[in-house]
Structures are given as structure tokens and as C-alpha cells.
């Protein structure tokens, strides 16, 4: 029993890091994605093409590669690492890579959601003397949110699991913590089961996320 308590304690510590990366990524990527989606819909063609190129590159290459490049390349070029050497630096680099990556995916979901709102909604706002800003925030936004909840749920569930990619730059999230017991951790060696045990954390957490997003979907059911 003692070993279980020690492992769970270590995994909890790792999962806290997982959770931190998940929350910070969402808080950064949700608004940044909206800004990127405006860029990709801009009437100013150069901005539109620049934004779409960035989205193409970010979505077209592995997140793991982006993490490695962002964490190691600046050090090679500058001669010193802007991230420092500690866990805080690894977290910062991970968060930035995740926010950029997920913002690009979110932006495409937003774009689909915004363009899916009938143009008549915007025209109705215009003839009522509403500003474009009012039309977006008072008319389009909620209709867009309703449309994007299902695809967004998919991305958010993927994000929960993708946080594990940050271990490639030795960010000490839950899988890193579990895997450590295969060698030696907290005085125990050669334990395989803690690694599998990490799966329970993802399952439970994704269960919670699914329930919450389901509630949001239901809450928006009052209109069609």
C-alpha cells in the first residue's frame, strides 16, 4: 500500500503540470485563435495569405517538432537559452508552442463557425444601424459558439492528451512522472504499472471535460 501512495503522490505532482499546461494553452489559444481567424478572413489580401501560410505551416508540421525547435534552436542561434535551464523555462516554451499550435487549429474552427452564420444575420444588423462590432458581439458570436462546440470538444480532448508531447523537452508532466518509475523514482525501481496508471488520469479528466462541454452544448440548446 505504501508504494501506491508514493506513486499516486508522484503522478499527482506530474498531473498538476499536465493540468497547468492544459489550462494555460486553452486560455491563450482560445482568444488568439479568434484573432488569427479574423486574419484568415481579412479583406486585405496580403494579411489573409500571410495568416493562411502560418496556419498551413503550423498545422502541417508535428507539434513535437515545433516544441523541439522552439526550445533548442534559440539557444543554438543566440549562444544561450532564453528559456533558462529549469522547469519554469520548459513550461514557458511548452506553453508558447502549444498556444500557437492550438490557436491555428481553433482559428479554422472559428472561421467555419463564423462563415456558417447566414449572411442575412449580418444584413439584419446592418439595416438596424448596428456597428460591425455590435453585430459580431451581439449577433454572430453566440451563434458561432453554438456551431463550434462539437468540433471544439474534439480539439480540447486531443489537447488533454497532447500535453504529454511536452515531455520531449523534459517537461515533467504525468507520463514523465510515470515513466520515471521504470528506472528509479522515489526509491522504487523497475515499476512498469505506474506508466499504465497515468492512463487513468487522462480518462477521468477527459470524462470531466466531456461532461462540461456536453453541459455547454445543452445550455445553448435554447435557440436554433
Amino acid at each position: 500500500m505504501e508504494v501506491l501512495a508514493v506513486v499516486v503522490g508522484a503522478l499527482n505532482e506530474g498531473f498538476l503540470q499536465t493540468l497547468k499546461l492544459f489550462v494555460v494553452t486553452l486560455l491563450g489559444a482560445l482568444p488568439l485563435g479568434l484573432i488569427i481567424s479574423f486574419g484568415s478572413m481579412s479583406r486585405f489580401a496580403p494579411l489573409r495569405w500571410l495568416t493562411r501560410t502560418v496556419i498551413w505551416v503550423i498545422r502541417g508540421t508535428p507539434l513535437m517538432l515545433q516544441l523541439i525547435i522552439l526550445y533548442y534552436v534559440p539557444g543554438k542561434v543566440l549562444g544561450y537559452s532564453p528559456w533558462g535551464t529549469g522547469e519554469a523555462g520548459r513550461f514557458l516554451a511548452s506553453a508558447i508552442a502549444f498556444i500557437i499550435n492550438y490557436a491555428c487549429y481553433f482559428s479554422e474552427i472559428y472561421r467555419g463557425g463564423i462563415q456558417g452564420v447566414p449572411v442575412g444575420q449580418q444584413e439584419a444588423g446592418l439595416v438596424l444601424g448596428m456597428t460591425r462590432r455590435d453585430i459580431f458581439f451581439k449577433v454572430t458570436l453566440l451563434q458561432m459558439v453554438k456551431r463550434i462546440v462539437p468540433p471544439m470538444s474534439n480539439e480540447i480532448i486531443t489537447l488533454v492528451k497532447d500535453t504529454s508531447l511536452a515531455r520531449i523537452i523534459s517537461f515533467q508532466e504525468v507520463i514523465w512522472a510515470g515513466q520515471a518509475f521504470m528506472k528509479t523514482s522515489h526509491g522504487y525501481s523497475g515499476l512498469l504499472w505506474p506508466l499504465f496508471f497515468t492512463g487513468i488520469y487522462y480518462l477521468v479528466f477527459n470524462g470531466v471535460v466531456t461532461v462540461l462541454l456536453g453541459r455547454l452544448e445543452k445550455k445553448l440548446d435554447y435557440f436554433r
Binding site: 447566414p118 442575412g120 444575420q121 444584413e123 439584419a124 444588423g125 446592418l126 439595416v127 438596424l128 444601424g129 448596428m130 456597428t131 455590435d134 451581439k138 449577433v139 453566440l142 451563434q143 453554438k146 435554447y222 435557440f223 436554433r224
Partner: protein, 262 residues
């Protein structure tokens, strides 16, 4: 009587296609004008030009003596002023375009409340202003026969009820001229009556209206003036009964005969 609306030489192209050509007409205050013609004749585009949803390539639009748009005068084409100019016109769409996330009453009051925020003393008088707007919104819904539907969302209403909410919404800002774009074309035949009845009562109260419609009998009874359009030009215009009962132009006769058969 002087004209409340004066439209001179409006022209509109979509790419190489000329959609409107040399459209000139005027409308007196309190009168209803029906625009008839087959699909693709330019009726809807003309209405959209009046509401600044399309920008004419040529021409002039004057309301109450104020030039709202003139291709010869660049100062009338400033983007930031278009929003204010739109308030001279109300528009009721063929497909209602109610905001689905708001109740019937909220649909009617939303724009008024947003405009109220632009008043300098808004903060001090917010409660009173919003209460007044809600009262007026309820009155308008009652006028549409929808007093008991104020709290309903659009999807809970029939098509005819939705269109009546849309009419109340357009009236809420007290436009000088209320425009209708085929207001009954998206409705089941048994629901057109209730909407036409409302428009008829507006005409009886001398609301200035421009109505694009396929309902010939309605146009003849309710409108004071009729414009018949074909291929982007006005073929014939005049008093409603005269144009519909005794058309002078061959094209008008053919169009009305087709409608008589249906």
C-alpha cells in the same frame, strides 16, 4: 406634397451584368409603393441599394431633401455615415432574419438599446431609457397581434409570426420609409394572410412603404403607386389600379397575364 423619397438614375452592375439601369422614381410621404416584376428583374437589388446593402454605381438617393447618396458627390459616400443613413430606411427580409438567440421582444428592442448607448446622458438615464424601449417594443408586438409571444424564441414561432416580429423590429427604429422584400414569399400560403393584413393596416396608418411583392391583388389594393420592372429597368409606373388593371406597356400586359393564369 413634396416627395419624401427621390431616386434619380440609379445604375448597378455585378461584374459585366447590368442589374439596374436608369431607375428614377419618387414617393410621397404616407404612400405605399409596390414594385412588381419577374424574378431577376432587379427589384430586390433596388431595395438593397436603398438600404445601402449594395452601393449603386451611379445615381442619387434623396430622403426628406437630404442627399443620402450621390455618385457625383464623394462626401455622401463616406463609410462611417452609411450606418446613420440606413436608419432612414427599415427593411423586412424575405427570410425574416430574426436573431435566433433572442426572444421576440429582444429582437425588437436590441438595436434601439444599442443606439441608446450612444446618447451622452446614457449612464444616468439607462434604466428609464431601457424601460421606455421595452414598453415601445411590447406595444409594437401587440400591434402585430403578438402580445402573448414576446418571450418566445424565433424557432418557437410560426413563419407568419416570425415575419410579424421582423416587421415590429423594423418599425422599432421609426424609419422614414419601411421596405419589404417579398415579405410573404417564404411563407406557407395559409400564413401569407396574417402578414399581408399587418402590412395593409400599416398602409391605412399612412406608413411610407416600398414593397417588393408577387402578390398582385395585394399590390393593387394596398399600394398607391406601382412600378413594374423588367430586365433592370422600370417599364411602367403609375397609380396602382391604373398600372395593374390597365397596363399601357406590352411587357406589363404579358407579365400580368402570366400572373392571371397562375
Amino acid at each position: 406634397m413634396s416627395a419624401i423619397l427621390d431616386v434619380q438614375n440609379i445604375e448597378k452592375h455585378f461584374g459585366d451584368t447590368r442589374v439596374l439601369e436608369d431607375i428614377t422614381f419618387s414617393l410621397e410621404k404616407g404612400q405605399a409603393l409596390a414594385i412588381i416584376g419577374s424574378s431577376g428583374s432587379g427589384k430586390t437589388t433596388l431595395l438593397r441599394c436603398l438600404n445601402f446593402l449594395e452601393t449603386p454605381d451611379k445615381g442619387r438617393i434623396t430622403v426628406n431633401g437630404e442627399t443620402l447618396f450621390d455618385t457625383a458627390d464623394l462626401s455622401t459616400q463616406r463609410e462611417e455615415e452609411v450606418r446613420r443613413k440606413r436608419l432612414h430606411f427599415g427593411l423586412v427580409f424575405q427570410s425574416f432574419n430574426l436573431f435566433p438567440q433572442y426572444t421576440a421582444l429582444e429582437n425588437v428592442t436590441l438595436a434601439s438599446k444599442l443606439l441608446a448607448k450612444e446618447q451622452p446622458d446614457f449612464k444616468a438615464r439607462k434604466k428609464q431609457l431601457f424601460a421606455d424601449i421595452d414598453t415601445r417594443g411590447k406595444e409594437l408586438l401587440a400591434q402585430m397581434g403578438l402580445a402573448d409571444r414576446a418571450g418566445h424564441y424565433p424557432h418557437q414561432l410560426s413563419g407568419g409570426q416570425q415575419q410579424r416580429v421582423a416587421i415590429a423590429r423594423a418599425l422599432a427604429l421609426s424609419p422614414d420609409i419601411l421596405c419589404f422584400d417579398e415579405p410573404t414569399s417564404a411563407l406557407d400560403p395559409e400564413l401569407t394572410g396574417e402578414v399581408l393584413k399587418v402590412i395593409r393596416s400599416l398602409a391605412e396608418q399612412n406608413t411610407t412603404m416600398v414593397i417588393v411583392t408577387h402578390e398582385m391583388a395585394f399590390a393593387r389594393d394596398v399600394a398607391d403607386q406601382v412600378i413594374f420592372m423588367d430586365g433592370g429597368v422600370i417599364v411602367e409606373q403609375g397609380p396602382a389600379r391604373e398600372v395593374i388593371d390597365h397596363p399601357k406597356e406590352e411587357r406589363t400586359r404579358q407579365f400580368l397575364a402570366r400572373y392571371g393564369e397562375n
